[in-house]
Amino acid sequence: MVSVEFLGPIQIDKKEFDVKSVRELKDELYKIPELEDWLISCAIAVNDKIIESLDTPLKDGDKVVLLPPVCGG
């Protein structure tokens, strides 16, 4: 299982998914209605490294975070 955490203003609890790639995870995430507005503007980190490809593989125990638009300072 892959754990997925939703950061900042996304008000959804951490979830687990049985997926093998970020592409597969994407399909699962689009099934969550509250996420719909966030997904296109999120960046994704796998094990605290921001990834740039949907083809990034995921394995059991991987930790994914979704990062919505930022504004520090």
Partner: protein
């Protein structure tokens, strides 16, 4: 205060407003004899805009630390930083950083580059505090450069 110190990194995270003068005082004492001729702090103060009582912040420390680490190997500049999480009231400071360089000109350059990179890439989320509510500041937020792959 939680302090993330990785290879001589100075990143300080505070619950609530950054105690600006305590931190600046400590930084100044630490670096004043190291041969830097210019210390240029940047102090980000919460403005009394749109009738807010303050701002509030979430941050994701693992990636914030990694982002900050990239600024720790400049040959001719040292950078220190402090940021708040949680509530920061009007007039308090949520973001403090300082660049230390031998000469002023590279200091101006690095300060601007660092702060702009911070604004674009630091994993921090800002909320307005208004009438007891915490409202995401979506009008000021920008997608990270690597966003969009879930389109």
């Amino acid at each position: 205060m939680e302090s993330g110190k990785l290879n001589n990194m100075v990143l300080e995270i505070y619950k609530g407003g950054v105690p600006v003068m305590d931190v600046l005082n400590r930084w100044y004492d630490e670096f004043k004899l190291e041969g830097y001729g210019a210390m240029i702090p940047f102090i980000g103060i919460v403005r009394p805009d749109n009738g807010i009582d303050g701002l509030s912040f979430d941050l994701y420390l693992p990636l914030l630390t990694k982002w900050f680490e990239k600024w720790q190997n400049l040959p001719d500049c040292k950078i220190t930083m402090a940021h708040s999480f949680g509530d920061v009231m009007v007039g308090e400071t949520s973001f403090l950083c300082a660049v230390y360089t031998k000469h002023r000109r590279e200091g101006f350059k690095y300060l601007e580059e660092f702060v702009e990179d911070f604004k674009a890439n630091a994993p921090i989320w800002k909320y307005d505090l208004k009438n007891g509510k915490r409202i995401f500041a979506s009008d000021r937020a920008k997608p990270l450069p690597q966003s969009g792959i879930l389109k």
